[in-house]
């Protein structure tokens, strides 16, 4: 089992490295000069020249890649061309802000999705099930900005004026100092993610509840609750972990639209801003970060899958 996990880990590291290479190349292709991008209309030739000199844009490409890669290991993500400060300083707060959004959304959506999915499966083909699966099917189809706009109209500006529709943080304050402004972004993400988890959980549970061993457990006279907890749920862990992982990874990347909509000071906003400003170091850092989240989360899901499967657990362990 350890070997299996180690191999999986090695592959992940390899994938991450290739991603880093691709990210670097992709950002090289960004047209336009960062110096000009920073100065905008104020870009007089003298000021452009001065700024370019400051930004060390004159080193050969491969050297810049090696420097950058080396920096990653020491926690140095490079220098932002637009703030001219370290990227880590620029992203620090934003990463934790996005993380808060992500974690809160995940912590709410995952158990909710699992519970709804299980409930739906237990009540298979009854009204509850049909309502849950119908609604989740519809919500799952809606693009996140449609959900977000609908929530703003409903809860913030037009119908009810309950929650703030944008996020404002004073310096030194963090986004969670004023929880009310987290409500709409979190709710949007929860609405986007929960239907997928619900549907997957329902499908998996249906399959498990139809399985021979669940039927056998019932024929043994085992109580329904025990059937569910001991015989059915453990089998849903593996496949559902995959979906939850996928959704979490989606959250990391898909948070861009939601952050844009709610002006949430996270990495998504930073990314849009950085692409516009040709702030290559920031683009690289954020992209790599999101990719790393994806890879790590998937790795975890695989490990959970391996641990939840006695066959893999026992066989590979020897």
């Amino acid at each position: 089992m350890t070997r299996l996990i180690l191999r999986r880990l090695l592959v992940s590291v390899l994938v991450l490295w290739v991603v880093s290479l691709l990210v670097f190349v992709a950002t090289l292709l960004l047209p336009g000069d960062p110096a000009r991008a920073i100065l905008g209309q104020q870009a007089t030739p003298e000021r452009v020249a001065a700024l370019q000199h400051q930004l060390h844009l004159d080193l050969p490409v491969w050297q810049r890649y090696l420097d950058w890669l080396g920096g990653l290991f020491t926690g140095d993500l490079g220098t932002s061309t637009s703030t001219q400060g370290p990227v880590t300083a620029l992203l620090g707060d934003r990463v934790s802000a996005s993380l808060v959004l992500l974690v809160v959304a995940a912590v709410l959506a995952t158990p909710l999705g699992l519970a709804l999915g299980t409930w739906s499966a237990i009540r298979r083909d009854r009204a509850t099930d049909q309502a849950i699966s119908g609604i989740s099917l519809v919500i799952a189809a809606l693009p996140e900005f449609v959900i977000g706009v609908a929530l703003v109209v409903l809860l913030s500006t037009t119908v009810f004026k309950i929650f703030p529709s944008v996020t404002i943080t004073a310096p030194g304050e963090t986004v969670w100092d004023e929880p009310a402004q987290l409500v709409l972004p979190v709710l949007t993400l929860v609405l986007v993610v929960t239907p997928y988890i619900t549907r997957m959980m329902r499908a998996t549970m249906n399959e498990v509840l139809d399985s021979g061993y669940v039927e056998m457990a019932r024929l043994k006279g085992v109580r329904e609750r025990t059937v569910l907890v001991r015989h059915a749920l453990p089998h849903a862990i593996g496949p559902v972990a995959q979906v939850v992982a996928l959704q979490l990874a989606w959250l990391a990347g898909g948070v861009v639209v939601v952050e844009f909509l709610f002006r949430y000071p996270g990495i998504g906003q930073a990314l849009i801003d950085a692409v516009g400003k040709r702030d290559v170091a920031v683009v690289q850092a954020v992209t790599l970060l999101i990719a790393a989240v994806y890879i790590v989360v998937n790795l975890l899901a695989d490990v959970v899958g391996i641990l939840a499967n006695p066959k893999l657990r026992t066989e590979a362990g020897r």
Binding site: L137, A141, G253, V286
Partner: protein, 297 residues
């Protein structure tokens, strides 16, 4: 003597594996009917709209019907004073076209990759699937953001980028389906007669994975629509002065309180379209999974 039990042949009312049968089975689900109706209505609007708009309203998509965000005409005017209904009617064609093209690209590419990886096996499989992992770990929106920053918001680029981001996901599904089919004796029978590998892929494997692929097409179409609309919403997709639903939402969102139609019509259309295609895809998935019609008295 020992008799081995007849493996469960399809019960009389279970779905046969053919794709014609798949559609027929899927059609027995109410959700397929609702989905198809939603989709067809929106597609009809998208296809006939550009021609119907000027006839109904007397305005083209670009001329001015009044001041911005006023209630002139049936559904008022947009941010430039153009007729919302005309623009709404014309606004689905491009979205739909791009979504269909992107889906087609993603499916063809993904199915090909997945089938080759699944059938080839071995190092080829590992290589393709690790490459797939790399693509998958690249956040979809970031790819689009970078590509559009590099090249500009061109139509073909949208199709390409979205198609490409679909490909690895489709490849996974196609690979899984192929692996399930690969071990089947009819593939080995074809190999026994030295049928060329390309022909095995196209003639023996492809027809047998149409079930999951059909589901995938439905899902990818849903995502493509949402994705293109999202990009337009971020201002990166279809560009003005084109009439486009995603763009309309972006342009008119600001006046949601005064003149909601400029947002509501396209939001409803996009919602109906994505929900419709998703319902159909889900019905196909249920049919492919062999679930019998929810028997309810």
């Amino acid at each position: 003597m020992t008799a081995v039990e007849l493996p469960r042949t399809a019960p009389p009312d279970a779905p046969p594996a053919r794709s014609g049968g798949l559609f027929r089975t899927a059609w027995t689900f109410p959700k397929a009917k609702i989905g198809a109706v939603l989709t067809i209505v929106v597609v009809l609007i998208a296809l006939l709209g550009p021609w119907l708009g000027p006839v109904l309203t007397g305005h083209t998509t670009t001329d001015f019907a009044g001041k911005p965000f006023k209630h002139d005409g049936v559904f008022g005017t947009d941010g430039l004073g153009r007729d919302v209904l005309t623009r709404f009617l014309a606004g689905g064609t491009t979205l739909l076209l791009y979504a269909v093209l992107a889906t087609a690209l993603g499916i063809v590419l993904g199915a090909l990759l997945g089938m080759v990886a699944g059938y080839g096996g071995g190092w080829l499989d590992s290589l393709l699937m690790r490459g797939n992992d790399v693509l998958l770990s690249f956040p979809q929106l970031v790819i689009a953001l970078l590509a559009i920053a590099v090249i500009g918001p061109e139509g073909w680029l949208l199709v390409l980028v979205i198609g490409l981001t679909h490909a690895p996901r489709t490849a996974r599904v196609a690979r899984q389906a192929t692996v399930a089919v690969r071990g089947q004796d009819y593939i080995r029978a074809a190999e026994m007669y030295a049928v060329p590998r390309s022909r095995i892929l196209l003639r023996e494997i492809l027809p047998n994975i149409t079930g999951p692929l059909m589901v995938e097409i439905g899902l990818r179409l849903t995502y493509s629509i949402g994705y293109i609309a999202s990009l337009s919403f971020l201002g990166l997709g279809i560009q003005p002065p084109s009439a486009d639903w995603g763009l309309m939402i972006n342009e008119n969102r600001i006046a949601l309180v005064v003149q909601p139609w400029g947002v509501l019509l396209p939001v409803l259309a996009i919602a109906a379209l994505t929900v419709g295609t998703n319902l159909v895809a889900d019905a196909l998935a249920s049919a492919a999974a062999g679930r019998k019609r929810e028997a309810h008295a």
